[in-house]
Amino acid sequence: MTSRLRPRWVLTGLLAVLVALVAGLAFGPVSLPPLDVVTDLLHHVPGLRVPTALPPRDDAILVQLRLPRVVLGLLVGSMLSLAGGAYQGVFRNRLADPYMLGVAAGAGLGATSVIIFGPRTALSSPVLVPLAAFTGALAAVAVTYLLGMAGARERTTATLLLAGVAVAAFCTAVQTFLLQQHTEEIQEVYSWILGRLTTSGWHEVLILLPYAVVASAVVLSQRRALDVLSVGDEEAASLGLHPRRVRLVLVVAAALGAAAAVAVSGLIGFVGIIVPHAVRLLAGPSYRVILPLSLLFGGAFLALADLLARTVMSPAEIPIGVVTAFFGAPFFLLVLRSGRRAAP
């Protein structure tokens, strides 16, 4: 049965997350032995009483600096991949990514506005830019949905995608105009757009976590509905599904997850389109498989990409979007060539 989530794949996914977690914690300006990292993590689990081998300074690096960043990478990667997978199903379009429907452009405009017009400390504030990006992203999606669903007589998914293109173009135009008028802030805005996982402790993780939990729960609950939707709206309706309701629920949940991820990390490209695709090619086309595995592998992939981004040219950091594309693209081409050819 192809639609079943095989334990083998789940275990592989969990292992990938574990490897990304331990590697992300062990490597950096100060390298820590992976085994000590594991025992130190267990040491912090209440009730286990595992003694740690790390001195207090290393323990602080691990728990206060690296752990929040790695966890943030896992969460952002999970959200982007899950949203991308959900959109690919909702729109029956393999090119769908989590930034469509205006999420990216709306977040960009929100962040740009607050960097230019907000207080001078906007960029260093842990709340202002994420809040503006989050609001901009959701506002753009809401406008897209209203335009795409209300304006057109033919309420197809294509009109929704086209409305998204129009909204994105409008937001980008405004953003470009603002930047051109305030060239001194271009550098700051650009660094936000490129995406990065910098943390001021656990703050960003706590911002993202509730949205990640809600978005994951809602999207995963619709996994079978997405499989039914793959036969088209009319046939899905004749099977007892309510296609437009399913689509609305999924778009809201996925947009919420993607917007929250973008708010704390900027626009990290490629993860949301490549991970669900690679999973589809390797593990099968059912969304019951694609969605949970995208969650696991997306998180692991981004956490590992971040590890490379901050270690390869240390102490300088490469923009993480560069890493995801540089390593993701060749890997993806490899998967495209070999994936599923042997499968029945």
Binding site: M1, T2, S3, R153, S221, Q222, R223, R224, A225, D227, V228, S230, V231, G232, E234, E235, A237, S238, L239, G240, L241, H242, G284, P285, S286, R288, R340, P344
Partner: protein, 262 residues
């Protein structure tokens, strides 16, 4: 075949904007009956099926097994009426078993996935249609005839009492056409869970051989309804199809033979 009426439609009309696709259609199909809707391209055959299935807004009322279809929840409706469209969407990479399991959707709670009972039901259907050996094959690797059987399998998995078939044979050669129609007839007359069939068709001789009643639709209205002998006449077909045909008596119904105009 004159059991109690399973399907009763009264005054069915469909409009899209100012265009009237279907107007004032009445029809009845007895339980276990087979009604085939014929008519030239654009007569409204597919629209009629979609209206009966509750998939397009329409005027008039449709009653199936005593239930008024528009008042049913869409899940209840899907347990009563199964539709095989003319060109079903083939999801890439989906296996025959998974496709058949889609038919269990109206029995599966909205947030759940299928359970053992659904799996058993799907396997029973595959077994009944001789598709067990294809369970793990993907739809895109099947031939046209095999695929048509898989579409039927999904519809049967719905456990519906009314089967709507929109041109079930248009993509098949005559041998496979007979395979599919004999199969549908077998399902219709089966002792356990018999089906009532409402199909649209272009092949008129075939339509007459399998259906016990024929409804001729032209420009959205019913122009004739009755037994195959009553509807498949040279005058009616010449007039409404604007075709030159000869109708000759056959073993199981009239045979319609096209003749060159000049």
């Amino acid at each position: 075949m004159t059991g109690p009426s399973l399907v009763a439609a009264r005054g069915i009309g469909v409009r899209v904007g100012a265009a009237r696709l279907l107007g004032d259609v009445d029809l009845d199909v007895p339980e276990g009956g087979w009604l085939t809707v014929i008519g030239p391209n654009g007569a409204g055959k597919s629209t009629l099926l979609r209206a009966l299935a509750g998939l397009v807004p329409h005027e008039g009322t449709v009653t199936v097994a005593g239930e008024q279809v528009d008042r049913l929840h869409r899940r209840q409706r899907a347990r009563l009426i199964a539709l095989v469209p003319q060109n079903p969407v083939v999801p890439p990479g989906m296996s025959v078993l998974d496709y058949t399991l889609l038919g269990r959707t109206p029995y599966i709670a909205p947030l759940a996935v299928e359970g053992a009972a659904d799996l058993a039901a799907a396997h029973a259907v595959l077994d009944r249609l001789d598709l067990t050996g294809f369970a793990d094959r993907t739809l895109d690797t099947l031939s046209g005839g095999e695929r048509q059987r898989v579409y039927l399998a999904r519809a049967l998995a719905q456990g519906a009492r009314l089967l709507l078939l929109d041109e079930p044979t248009s993509a098949l050669d005559i041998g496979h056409q007979q395979d599919v129609l004999e199969l549908v007839d077998e399902l219709r007359t089966a002792e356990h869970a018999p089906l009532t069939v409402l199909a649209t068709m272009h092949e008129l001789s075939v339509a007459g051989e399998y259906a016990d009643r024929i409804l001729l639709l032209a420009a959205g209205s019913v122009v004739a309804t009755g037994t195959p002998d009553e509807v498949l006449t040279e005058e009616l077909l010449a007039h409404h199809y604007r075709a030159r045909v000869r109708v000759v008596p056959g073993e199981r119904g009239p045979l319609v033979v096209p003749v060159r105009r000049r």
